[in-house]
Amino acid sequence: MNRNLIFGGALSAIFIAAALISFVWTPYTYTGMNIPDRLLPPGGAHLLGTDHFGRDILSLIMVGARTSIAVALVAVGIGISLGVPLGLWAAARRGSLVDEIIMRGNDLVFAFPSLVIAILITAVFGAGAINAIIAIGIFNIPVFARITRGAALSLWEREFILAARVAGKSAARISFEHILPNVTNLLIVQGTIQFSLGILAEAGLSYVGLGAQPPTPSWGRMLADAQTMVSIAPHMALMPGFAIILTVLGLNLMGDGLRDYLDPRLRVARA
């Protein structure tokens, strides 16, 4: 175990725990407006202060974690479940027309940054958390397709794959039996990174009103609310900002830590 993994894992665990706990308990009800208590600074009865409606910011952050984590997690899920098979397929048929089409398609999706996809979807279907998930998810597909194909290509050159072909196994079977297990580590690491990018993207989309809609709390929307108040109540911007930064930092550190931990070359060196 290394420090990155422990520290990053702990940070991520705190926010995932906060999101889960919010289902059964929050310090205050997050919908409860309480105008007399508005804009209270951190400390006292409201640990992280209150917003312009007098809502408890800690409660909002806990519930907001739910939205962020759910959106990012499902988006990564979309990316993996579509991108990995595409990458495996392209690698199995390397050099063929299928490969070419998949890779060109990937490039094309890369030309639509997730924000642009979100804009298009919103323009057509209106804003909402589902659209944020789709927008971020679509952008994740080529990321996973590319990384899977790249790793799979070098594996296809290895002799144990040749041995499996000599044993008469089909390309599909080899892909799932030999290639996939050997790219899993890479996918776990990339998945962690995409998860953190998803949280950043969700916050951005919600901030500009393309993501979760009121009354669903989300970190990005809290920041949008905070913007006009930033000079009189900076804690309204600081607290959700710290939540985002610490979660993303935690996930990134965990990704780095996992990479070191799962890399067999490094493990041999340590042994």
Binding site: F160, L162, A167
Partner: protein
Amino acid sequence: MNLLSLNNLSLSIHNFQILKGVTFDIAAGEIVAVTGESGSGKSMTALAAMQLLPQGAETTGHITLGDQDLTTLTESQLCGIRGNEIGMVFQEPMTALNPVKTIGNQVAETILLHERTSKAEAGKRAAETLTRVGLPQDRFPLSRFPHELSGGQRQRVVIAMAIARHPRLLIADEPTTALDVTTQAQILDLLTRLAREDGMGLMMITHDLAVVADMADRIIVMRNGEVVEQGETKTLLREMHHPYTRMLFAASSHKVTLPESRATGPLLEVKGVCRDYRTPRTTFFGQPGHFRAVNNVSFTLNRGERLGLVGESGCGKSTLTRALLGLEQVQKGTITLAGEPVFTGNKPNLAVRRHMQVVFQDPFGSFNPRHRVARQITEPFHLLDDPPTGAARQKAIDEALTAVGLKPSDANKYVHEFSGGQRQRIAIARALIIRPDLILFDEAVSALDVSVRAQILDLLVDLCAAYDLSYLFISHDLSVVRTITDRVLVMKSGEIVEQGATEDVFTAPQHPYTKTLIEAAPVLPEIQGLTA
């Protein structure tokens, strides 16, 4: 006066001991070979002499060049010595040159680093040096990039970079290991000539004793970071005090006696096979070109016969192997095993494949690192309609592992728990487990140390006796093919240029290319009374 002296040199990297009290000298103009198997510390000795050690390396003892102790010099003083007084040539010419700079630029850099001279003058000297190493300007102008040259040519560029300043000492770390046998001979000649002409000391690091015996004045034998024996080449070869030295030489010239071949009818028949690859289009809208990797190859392998296939890299032997296995479709000709085609329609014929297995070169890449040995070696069962299960499967695993000299209990281990030689045994077990009629050995012993190689060759002989094997042994290593096959094919540029009984071909080659190959291959002098 010694040029280079290593005195009681010890080295450890992150507290892992690599070298233990290494002591030897190299005189000016002397060619000294440092030899040993992998893990002997020979390459690290070379890097220590260059003071180019990896991070975390700690040395004790002294390395003296002339009257300077290199271990006491500062980094900037060392930079003044590297390339200037000591040049170095590395093993892998394909990656030793910067791909984005011209060869002229890279050779001139050595000169510009150590002299105050104009770029034009350095370029002129670079051209002279390149000509000297056999790359004349009319064919290899300074403006060439490394990717435009072959491996042997790139190695010449590396040598030119190393000798451009006429250093007193040249260190060559396995300079020919990555090269073909004919190229190897030329590079060895070049290195010898340069050392003799310039009176330059040459430290030659190599695992290949045949190379050593031919060119070195003195030999230093290393094992596990220690010098076990050193001496004048002739004396050392005659006396060989240390048992390890004896073992090493015996293993290098290891000969086996195959059981009598009981060749019956034809097993594998190859008729007029051609295999083309598409090359990139030469014009934007033009048709893609074709490259014929295998051209009109015909031969027969009889049941019970041990056939060899030799040739240099790029001659088409790997392509032919894939075609024989039915992994790729051929453009012309037929390949049949016991009368059945290996490839039917657009698919490999799996009914035929179950009678054929293969052992690859790389003992590290041949196995899925995530599976246990039992799962790895039973993979060919996939070819059977009715693969054994339960106790029968266990029995097959035990038998296969026992046959290759491993224990049945090894079945539950992962491959990273085994050494290179043991992995190659596992690969053979995988090939044997479905009792194929034919096994292809594709450079199967090329990546192994000589002592391990000798053991694997012995194993093959045992298996021949026990199982009446028929195999095709594909290798670039002539000495191995000579001892382990009954008949041999010689391949060049996609064609079989000669075939015949192995001893006949080696003693009286007919084709000029076969003659060149056999002449170029370095051979160990006959040494009496050696047994491995």
